[in-house]
Every structure is written in C-alpha cells, then in structure tokens.
Symmetry: C2
Subunit: 294 residues, 2 copies
C-alpha cells in the first residue's frame, strides 16, 4: 500500500487518509448518515424507549456503522438533520462513536455551511474541534472568507460544493461567464488555486457526465466527492470511468436512504439489509471502473 | 398607519409585518443575537451559575431583548452560533421568549442555509415550525431546489443572501456573466421572478454603495436587508438614501457585536449600554435618511 501511496504527489493528511482507505478495502463507497426519525425501524425504539430521540438516532447510527464499516471509505453526516437539543446530542454521540470504533474512516460533517468572520471561526471550532470531524462540506457563494476559517486547519479537509447534483444546480452553476466558462468551473479553479492549503477537494455531480469529461486535467489527482448517484439519477457507468485517478481510485461515492432504509428481505435484520446495500454500492462502483471511458 | 400601508402593493404577511414595525417605531434598526460565550458579562454567570451555558445564553439574550425591543424591527439569530446541545436549547428558548414577549417583532433565523431534497424539507420544518421563525436567511448557490422548500410556507419569509458584505463576495458575486451582468444581479432577478411566492427579499451590501444605485428599479418596494454596516465598513450615509422605498423606509439594518458588547460607561449596566447602542444605530439610520441621494 505504501508503494501505491507514494505514486501520488504529497498531499494533506486527510487526503492521504482517503487514499489509504481506498487501497485497504478496494472500495470507493460511503454512507450518508442522515437519519429521519420516522423511518428508524421499530426495533430501535423497542431497545431505547419510544420518544428518546437522541438515543434512538445514536443507536440506529451505531448499528448502521457496525454493519457497513468494512466497506465504507467515508461517513457523511449531515448536521442539518440533527435538529434541536436531542439532534445535537445524537450528532456528537455519532462522531464520538466513529472516532472510537473506526478512526481509519473519514468523518465528514455535511451541512453545506457558508458564513463569515467570527461566525465562521465559531463554526469551524465546533466542527473540527468539538465534533472532531475530519472534513466539512462548504458552500462557495460567499468566497474565500467563508472557506479560509476552515482551511486554516491544515490537517483537516474542506469538501467544496462546486457542482451539486440537484436539478436546479443547472440554473445557478452552469451559467456561462463572459469568457464562456461555466460558473462552477470558475469556482473550481479559483478555490483550488487560492482558498486552501492543499486541503480542498470538490463535490462534482454524476447527473451531468458531460461535465466530467477531462475533469482530471482540472483537478489533478485530488479525490472527488461524486454526488447524485442513485436516487438523483446519476449513472455510475457514465461518470465513474472518466473520474478515476492514476491508481484507479479517485472518488468518494456515498448513498444515504438506499443504505439506511433498504427494502428488507423476509427475516432480515435492518443492519443486515444495510450491509447488503453497501455491498451492492461497492460492487456497482467497482464494476463501473472496469468500463472504458465514454 | 393603515393608510400608509395601503400605499404599498399587496404583499406576503411577513413583509407587511416589517412595514408595520417601521411605521410603528419610526426605525429600521435591528439586533443580531449572536452571543459568544466568552463575551457574555460576568453578571449573567453570577445569576445563572457558571458553566450553565444554555441558561447563560438564554438569560443574556432575554436581557438584551428587553433593553432593545422598543427600537428594533427584527431580531436576527444566527443558528451557527448556537452549537451543540446547550446551544440548541438556548436557540429554542430565545425564539420562544421573543414570540411570547414581542410577537410584533420579526424573528429571523440566520444560518445562510442551502440544502436540497428531504434535508431542506427537514430544515424548513425545524426553522418554521419547531422554532417558529418568521424568516430565514438562505444561500442561493444551489438554486431553487434549496429555496422552494422554504418559500412554500407562504406566510413565512426567505431572506436571500444575494450580495453579501464580506470582502471576498467581490470575487464570487461580482464576476460578470456573458451579457455583462454581475452574477449577484442575475441571482437577484432570477430568485425574485421564479423562486418564491412573493415571499423572498434580498440581502444587499452597504460596502459597495455603487451597487445600490438604481436598486429600487430592480426590487420594487421590497424590504432589503442591508448588510455590512458598522464593523465591515459600510457607510449609512452613502447607502441608505438610494435604498429607501416610497414611504421613506425599505431597509432592515442590524448590528450584532456593537449592540451586544458595547463599551460600558462607569456604573452602566450591560442592558443599559445595549439600549444606548441600539438608540445610536436607530438615530444614525434616520439621520442618513435625511441626506439626498448620491
């Protein structure tokens, strides 16, 4: 593994952590831990007591983590789901559990934050110190003022929502600038060149595979968080081959609902169903890798 | 007051609420309730007990509210400051207190959120139902998918971060599109025309008064949240006159640190100092109104 790692240029610690994990488990699959209280299985409430929201979310997440960790490169935890006092307790518990049981897996705090000044400093301290997340998802609209309070943590990683996979991203991100460059590509170049300490990687979308043609000439060997696979209609076979890095990895591709609430087979426990779902995701990604470009 | 209100076109309930407040107190001043634990005065901890973060923030906010309400159009509460379990309890307590004691004042949940799909639905329910905020600050980068889950609450208000006051907004928001329009102006037009139910108003910046020339021809009589006054260097005299609506109001201008932690005069209590600070803000804005354009 060390030999293959040395085949990359020097990078920041969290990028190395991602690469090590790719090699270790030969997978690029991840899990979005975005629990919806109403969808948490009855077994969980039987265990923790009905109405105990913080413990219910925590217990559910722990079971999902135990079932999926061996095939997971990153857990992406969207803070926007962990609402109120109970939600925030579950958020902290989940980060603590991941750190204790699977320190080798990247802990990503989603939230698509963008704030500035002392608010951004406060937010960065909450995410990188209190929660001890490895990485955070940020929104580029406010420019570097909203990013640098995070990239100044040189050992941490910023994952920038450059080109998102929701349908309306077209109207705001694909619009051409005076020189014809789509706005998202301008943001991509600017952020990678100016906003970080070699600790920014982009979110790009699988829903427009044509946007990904030649993407490695823009981002070099950086990991890419590829969004929009699954429920949003992004196609792995169309998008994965042209995004691979020189070692045949290069991507983090996570699913949330498909792994948290898969259809269960008769007699199957919910963690077993989730294990089956992450296995499918892993295999589908690895299958797509074998296809040639375009 | 009713006569002056009828001088506006029909609008959504929260825009009417803002206008009523302008007339009622003849002011456009507001308060950003963004408490930093380390800056909360010792008197507060003496009262609630040291280390009791949730109660400390709540008590501090209540005292600031009591001292400033009579001169305040809106309280802008940035959720990004209310971190962890304790912070979220204080956030809920603060919204509850405002609703109970000053239902006539606009309760804005800041956070500059942008998320999509069922995450956005969840976030909107948290902010507009659990917290019962009147308005929310959102980020436009993801397009209408991130906005419509909020604007579908027709009786609530979305305040869109169109042109922010931080220095780096220049690099991402002022860049010209193919037709020469700055990106933020494209976002302004698109959002007002397509994303809402007459319940979107913009954040614009006082730091570039030249951007505000002729702004009423773009936004009509909509209220504007004018950012960047005070610590960010925006000048009231340069920016206020060209943003007034036809009744001589049209703006919400809030300060945070200047009102939460003003320099205290000998023997002055912290609420009295904050009352003095909001009075200064109100008077400075009303003074700027009397200056002619340009």
């Amino acid at each position: 593994m060390i030999e293959r790692l040395s085949n990359y240029e020097q990078s920041s610690p969290m990028i190395t952590k991602i690469r090590q994990r790719w090699f270790e488990i030969d997978a690029m699959s991840g899990v979005g831990l975005d629990p919806v209280v109403e969808k948490i299985p009855q077994e969980v409430w039987n265990q923790v007591g009905k109405g105990n929201i913080a413990d219910g979310i925590t217990f559910f997440n722990q079971k999902i983590i135990d079932a999926t960790a061996s095939q997971t490169v990153d857990y992406k935890i969207n803070a926007n789901f962990y609402s109120g006092e109970q939600g925030r307790r579950a958020l902290k518990n989940t980060f603590d559990y991941l750190k204790k049981t699977h320190p080798e897996i990247l802990r990503v705090c989603d939230g698509k934050f963008a704030d500035v000044g002392h608010t951004a400093d406060h937010l960065a301290a909450e995410i990188f110190e209190e929660l001890d997340a490895d990485a955070v998802l940020l929104n580029p609209y406010l420019g570097s003022d909203a990013i640098k309070p995070f990239t100044k943590y040189k050992d941490k990683l910023v994952i920038l929502c450059v080109n998102t996979s929701n349908p309306s991203a077209d109207e705001t991100q694909n619009i051409p600038l005076a020189d014809g460059t789509p706005y998202w590509k301008f943001i991509l170049r600017k952020s990678l060149e100016e906003w970080g300490n070699n600790n920014i990687i982009p979110v790009l979308s699988a829903t427009h595979p044509e946007n990904l043609i030649g993407i490695r000439s823009l981002v070099g060997q950086l990991p890419i968080l590829l969004a929009g696979v699954g429920s949003q209609g992004g196609d792995l076979n169309q998008s994965v081959p042209q995004c691979l890095d020189k070692n045949g990895y290069g991507l983090m591709i996570s699913a949330s609902r498909a792994i948290l609430y898969p259809e269960r087979q008769p007699g199957e426990s919910f963690p077993d169903a989730s294990r089956r779902a992450i296995t499918d995701l892993k295999n589908n990604i690895n299958q797509a890798k074998t296809l040639s470009h375009g």
